[in-house]
Amino acid sequence: MNDNDLAGGEVIELEIPARAEFVALARLVVSALAASDSSLADERIDDLKLAVSEACTNAIEAHSAAGTSEGVLVRCKAGVDTVEVYVEDRGHGFDPAQLPDHPPVTDPDRLKFERGLGIPLIRALVDEVEFSPTDKGTSVRLVMRHGTNGTHS
Protein backbone atom coordinates (compact mmCIF):
# COMPACT_ATOMS: atom_id res chain seq x y z
CA MET A 1 0.00 0.00 0.00
CA ASN A 2 1.24 3.48 -0.73
CA ASP A 3 -0.15 6.82 0.31
CA ASN A 4 -1.29 7.67 -3.21
CA ASP A 5 -4.00 5.07 -2.85
CA LEU A 6 -5.48 7.15 -0.08
CA ALA A 7 -5.01 10.61 -1.53
CA GLY A 8 -7.91 12.95 -0.77
CA GLY A 9 -10.84 12.32 1.56
CA GLU A 10 -10.92 11.69 5.27
CA VAL A 11 -8.67 8.90 6.50
CA ILE A 12 -8.92 6.99 9.74
CA GLU A 13 -6.22 4.58 10.66
CA LEU A 14 -6.47 2.33 13.64
CA GLU A 15 -4.55 -0.61 14.91
CA ILE A 16 -6.70 -3.06 16.79
CA PRO A 17 -5.33 -5.76 19.08
CA ALA A 18 -5.72 -9.08 17.24
CA ARG A 19 -8.53 -10.20 19.53
CA ALA A 20 -12.14 -11.08 18.73
CA GLU A 21 -13.67 -8.34 20.91
CA PHE A 22 -12.11 -5.60 18.76
CA VAL A 23 -13.74 -6.59 15.45
CA ALA A 24 -16.89 -4.70 16.51
CA LEU A 25 -14.77 -1.56 16.97
CA ALA A 26 -13.37 -1.84 13.42
CA ARG A 27 -16.93 -2.23 12.07
CA LEU A 28 -18.10 0.76 14.04
CA VAL A 29 -15.28 3.05 12.93
CA VAL A 30 -15.59 2.15 9.24
CA SER A 31 -19.39 2.50 9.19
CA ALA A 32 -19.27 5.81 11.08
CA LEU A 33 -16.77 7.28 8.64
CA ALA A 34 -18.68 5.96 5.60
CA ALA A 35 -21.96 7.32 6.99
CA SER A 36 -20.59 10.78 7.71
CA ASP A 37 -18.33 11.34 4.71
CA SER A 38 -19.69 9.33 1.78
CA SER A 39 -22.93 9.23 -0.10
CA LEU A 40 -23.20 5.46 0.15
CA ALA A 41 -26.72 4.25 0.93
CA ASP A 42 -27.28 2.72 4.36
CA GLU A 43 -27.69 -0.71 2.82
CA ARG A 44 -24.29 -0.48 1.16
CA ILE A 45 -22.71 0.70 4.39
CA ASP A 46 -24.16 -2.44 6.02
CA ASP A 47 -22.54 -4.51 3.24
CA LEU A 48 -19.19 -2.81 3.83
CA LYS A 49 -19.51 -3.32 7.58
CA LEU A 50 -20.04 -7.04 7.00
CA ALA A 51 -17.06 -7.25 4.62
CA VAL A 52 -14.86 -5.44 7.18
CA SER A 53 -16.01 -7.86 9.87
CA GLU A 54 -15.06 -10.83 7.68
CA ALA A 55 -11.66 -9.37 6.75
CA CYS A 56 -10.83 -8.53 10.40
CA THR A 57 -11.96 -11.98 11.57
CA ASN A 58 -9.65 -13.60 9.00
CA ALA A 59 -6.80 -11.30 10.05
CA ILE A 60 -7.22 -12.19 13.72
CA GLU A 61 -7.30 -15.89 12.90
CA ALA A 62 -4.14 -15.47 10.79
CA HIS A 63 -2.39 -13.79 13.75
CA SER A 64 -3.49 -16.51 16.07
CA ALA A 65 -2.22 -19.20 13.66
CA ALA A 66 1.07 -17.32 13.26
CA GLY A 67 1.37 -16.85 17.03
CA THR A 68 1.99 -13.13 16.75
CA SER A 69 0.85 -10.58 19.32
CA GLU A 70 1.01 -7.69 16.84
CA GLY A 71 -2.09 -5.66 16.02
CA VAL A 72 -4.20 -5.63 12.86
CA LEU A 73 -4.14 -2.40 10.90
CA VAL A 74 -7.43 -1.01 9.61
CA ARG A 75 -7.25 1.99 7.34
CA CYS A 76 -10.35 3.63 5.95
CA LYS A 77 -10.61 6.44 3.46
CA ALA A 78 -13.99 7.92 2.71
CA GLY A 79 -14.52 10.27 -0.19
CA VAL A 80 -17.95 11.28 -1.46
CA ASP A 81 -18.11 8.57 -4.10
CA THR A 82 -15.72 5.92 -2.89
CA VAL A 83 -14.95 4.29 0.42
CA GLU A 84 -11.79 2.25 0.59
CA VAL A 85 -10.77 0.04 3.49
CA TYR A 86 -7.48 -1.75 3.97
CA VAL A 87 -7.14 -4.53 6.52
CA GLU A 88 -3.52 -5.54 6.99
CA ASP A 89 -2.45 -8.54 8.97
CA ARG A 90 0.89 -9.97 9.95
CA GLY A 91 -0.13 -13.58 9.58
CA HIS A 92 1.52 -16.07 7.29
CA GLY A 93 -0.50 -15.09 4.24
CA PHE A 94 -2.83 -17.21 2.16
CA ASP A 95 -3.84 -17.76 -1.43
CA PRO A 96 -7.54 -17.01 -1.97
CA ALA A 97 -7.41 -19.03 -5.20
CA GLN A 98 -6.66 -22.15 -3.16
CA LEU A 99 -9.89 -21.99 -1.14
CA PRO A 100 -11.97 -25.13 -1.62
CA ASP A 101 -15.30 -24.77 -3.38
CA HIS A 102 -18.30 -25.59 -1.26
CA PRO A 103 -20.49 -28.46 -2.40
CA PRO A 104 -23.80 -27.31 -3.92
CA VAL A 105 -26.39 -26.43 -1.28
CA THR A 106 -28.51 -29.41 -2.29
CA ASP A 107 -25.67 -31.79 -1.40
CA PRO A 108 -25.91 -33.14 2.19
CA ASP A 109 -22.13 -32.65 2.40
CA ARG A 110 -22.78 -28.91 2.33
CA LEU A 111 -23.36 -29.11 6.08
CA LYS A 112 -19.75 -30.13 6.59
CA PHE A 113 -18.74 -26.56 5.82
CA GLU A 114 -19.15 -24.35 8.86
CA ARG A 115 -16.25 -22.15 7.88
CA GLY A 116 -14.89 -20.59 4.73
CA LEU A 117 -17.94 -18.47 4.05
CA GLY A 118 -16.17 -15.19 4.78
CA ILE A 119 -14.26 -14.70 1.54
CA PRO A 120 -17.25 -15.53 -0.74
CA LEU A 121 -19.29 -13.04 1.30
CA ILE A 122 -16.65 -10.33 0.90
CA ARG A 123 -16.51 -10.94 -2.86
CA ALA A 124 -20.29 -10.68 -3.16
CA LEU A 125 -20.66 -7.59 -0.99
CA VAL A 126 -18.06 -5.08 -2.13
CA ASP A 127 -17.43 -3.55 -5.54
CA GLU A 128 -13.78 -4.45 -5.55
CA VAL A 129 -11.62 -6.67 -3.40
CA GLU A 130 -7.93 -7.34 -3.64
CA PHE A 131 -5.77 -9.67 -1.53
CA SER A 132 -2.11 -8.72 -1.69
CA PRO A 133 0.82 -10.30 0.04
CA THR A 134 2.94 -7.87 2.06
CA ASP A 135 6.35 -8.55 3.61
CA LYS A 136 4.59 -9.34 6.88
CA GLY A 137 1.30 -10.92 5.90
CA THR A 138 -1.72 -10.06 3.79
CA SER A 139 -3.36 -6.78 2.87
CA VAL A 140 -7.04 -6.87 1.94
CA ARG A 141 -8.40 -3.89 0.05
CA LEU A 142 -12.15 -3.38 -0.01
CA VAL A 143 -13.73 -0.75 -2.22
CA MET A 144 -17.31 0.50 -2.25
CA ARG A 145 -18.48 2.99 -4.86
CA HIS A 146 -21.49 5.22 -4.79
CA GLY A 147 -23.87 4.59 -7.67
CA THR A 148 -23.28 0.87 -8.05
CA ASN A 149 -26.17 -1.31 -7.13
CA GLY A 150 -24.77 -3.49 -4.41
CA THR A 151 -24.61 -7.24 -4.29
CA HIS A 152 -23.43 -8.54 -7.61
CA SER A 153 -23.89 -12.24 -7.22
Binding site: A20, E21, V23, A24, R27, E43, D46, K49, L50, S53, E54, T57, I60, H102, P104, V105, T106, R110, L111, K112, F113, E114, R115, L117, G118, P120, L121, A124, L125, T151, S153
Partner: protein, 119 residues
Protein backbone atom coordinates in the same frame (compact mmCIF):
# COMPACT_ATOMS: atom_id res chain seq x y z
CA UNK B 1 -20.99 -6.07 23.41
CA UNK B 2 -24.15 -7.74 24.65
CA UNK B 3 -25.58 -10.87 23.13
CA UNK B 4 -29.02 -11.81 24.38
CA UNK B 5 -29.86 -15.51 24.38
CA UNK B 6 -33.29 -16.26 25.85
CA UNK B 7 -34.97 -19.62 25.69
CA UNK B 8 -38.64 -20.45 26.02
CA UNK B 9 -40.73 -23.50 25.30
CA UNK B 10 -43.40 -23.44 22.60
CA UNK B 11 -45.41 -26.50 21.67
CA UNK B 12 -42.54 -28.93 21.88
CA UNK B 13 -39.98 -26.52 20.45
CA UNK B 14 -37.24 -24.73 22.31
CA UNK B 15 -37.26 -21.15 21.00
CA UNK B 16 -33.87 -19.45 21.28
CA UNK B 17 -34.21 -15.71 20.77
CA UNK B 18 -30.94 -14.05 19.84
CA UNK B 19 -30.44 -10.32 20.36
CA UNK B 20 -27.52 -8.08 19.43
CA UNK B 21 -24.50 -8.69 17.24
CA UNK B 22 -23.28 -12.16 16.30
CA UNK B 23 -19.62 -12.12 15.29
CA UNK B 24 -16.34 -13.85 16.09
CA UNK B 25 -16.48 -12.48 19.65
CA UNK B 26 -20.05 -13.40 20.57
CA UNK B 27 -20.50 -16.53 18.40
CA UNK B 28 -18.87 -18.89 20.96
CA UNK B 29 -21.59 -18.06 23.54
CA UNK B 30 -24.27 -18.65 20.92
CA UNK B 31 -22.67 -21.99 19.98
CA UNK B 32 -22.42 -23.08 23.62
CA UNK B 33 -26.07 -22.24 24.28
CA UNK B 34 -27.18 -24.30 21.28
CA UNK B 35 -25.01 -27.24 22.33
CA UNK B 36 -26.43 -27.00 25.87
CA UNK B 37 -29.97 -27.16 24.55
CA UNK B 38 -29.18 -30.21 22.43
CA UNK B 39 -27.53 -31.97 25.35
CA UNK B 40 -30.62 -31.20 27.47
CA UNK B 41 -32.50 -33.29 24.93
CA UNK B 42 -34.07 -30.40 23.02
CA UNK B 43 -33.88 -31.59 19.45
CA UNK B 44 -36.45 -29.28 17.89
CA UNK B 45 -35.09 -25.78 18.09
CA UNK B 46 -36.32 -22.52 16.62
CA UNK B 47 -33.70 -19.78 16.46
CA UNK B 48 -35.41 -16.39 16.38
CA UNK B 49 -33.11 -13.86 14.67
CA UNK B 50 -35.53 -10.93 14.72
CA UNK B 51 -33.56 -9.15 17.45
CA UNK B 52 -30.20 -9.57 15.69
CA UNK B 53 -28.57 -6.33 14.53
CA UNK B 54 -25.59 -7.90 12.83
CA UNK B 55 -24.62 -11.42 11.77
CA UNK B 56 -21.51 -12.46 9.87
CA UNK B 57 -20.10 -15.77 8.66
CA UNK B 58 -19.12 -16.86 12.18
CA UNK B 59 -22.82 -16.67 13.08
CA UNK B 60 -23.70 -18.68 9.97
CA UNK B 61 -21.13 -21.25 11.07
CA UNK B 62 -22.84 -21.63 14.45
CA UNK B 63 -26.22 -22.16 12.77
CA UNK B 64 -24.84 -24.68 10.25
CA UNK B 65 -23.13 -26.54 13.13
CA UNK B 66 -26.35 -26.51 15.12
CA UNK B 67 -28.41 -27.85 12.22
CA UNK B 68 -25.92 -30.62 11.63
CA UNK B 69 -25.91 -31.57 15.31
CA UNK B 70 -29.72 -31.60 15.48
CA UNK B 71 -30.14 -33.62 12.29
CA UNK B 72 -27.83 -36.26 13.74
CA UNK B 73 -30.41 -36.55 16.55
CA UNK B 74 -33.31 -36.65 14.05
CA UNK B 75 -34.17 -33.16 15.14
CA UNK B 76 -34.35 -29.88 13.29
CA UNK B 77 -33.32 -26.25 13.55
CA UNK B 78 -35.73 -23.68 12.13
CA UNK B 79 -35.04 -20.00 11.71
CA UNK B 80 -37.24 -16.95 12.15
CA UNK B 81 -36.06 -13.92 10.20
CA UNK B 82 -37.73 -11.14 8.23
CA UNK B 83 -34.93 -8.55 8.25
CA UNK B 84 -33.63 -8.09 4.73
CA UNK B 85 -30.05 -7.30 5.75
CA UNK B 86 -29.82 -10.55 7.72
CA UNK B 87 -31.64 -12.62 5.07
CA UNK B 88 -29.19 -11.27 2.51
CA UNK B 89 -26.31 -13.07 4.25
CA UNK B 90 -28.18 -16.37 3.92
CA UNK B 91 -29.04 -15.65 0.30
CA UNK B 92 -25.49 -14.82 -0.78
CA UNK B 93 -24.12 -17.99 0.81
CA UNK B 94 -26.91 -20.18 -0.58
CA UNK B 95 -27.99 -21.12 2.94
CA UNK B 96 -31.63 -20.16 2.32
CA UNK B 97 -31.82 -23.58 0.65
CA UNK B 98 -30.31 -25.33 3.65
CA UNK B 99 -32.43 -23.73 6.38
CA UNK B 100 -36.18 -23.48 6.75
CA UNK B 101 -36.76 -19.77 7.35
CA UNK B 102 -40.08 -18.51 8.70
CA UNK B 103 -41.66 -15.09 9.18
CA UNK B 104 -42.62 -15.65 12.80
CA UNK B 105 -42.23 -18.09 15.67
CA UNK B 106 -45.90 -19.04 15.20
CA UNK B 107 -45.30 -19.88 11.54
CA UNK B 108 -42.21 -21.91 12.47
CA UNK B 109 -44.11 -23.85 15.15
CA UNK B 110 -46.91 -24.81 12.76
CA UNK B 111 -44.68 -25.17 9.69
CA UNK B 112 -42.03 -27.16 11.56
CA UNK B 113 -44.65 -29.50 13.01
CA UNK B 114 -45.89 -30.27 9.47
CA UNK B 115 -42.34 -30.79 8.32
CA UNK B 116 -42.82 -28.02 5.75
CA UNK B 117 -41.15 -24.66 5.33
CA UNK B 118 -42.00 -21.24 4.03
CA UNK B 119 -38.94 -21.05 1.80
Amino acid sequence: MDLGLDVEERDGFAVLSVRGEVDVYTAPRFRERLIELVSEGKHKIIVDLEGVDFLDSTGLGVLVGGLKRLRSHDGDLLLVCTQSRILKVFEITGLTKVFSIFDSVDAAVSGGADGGAAT
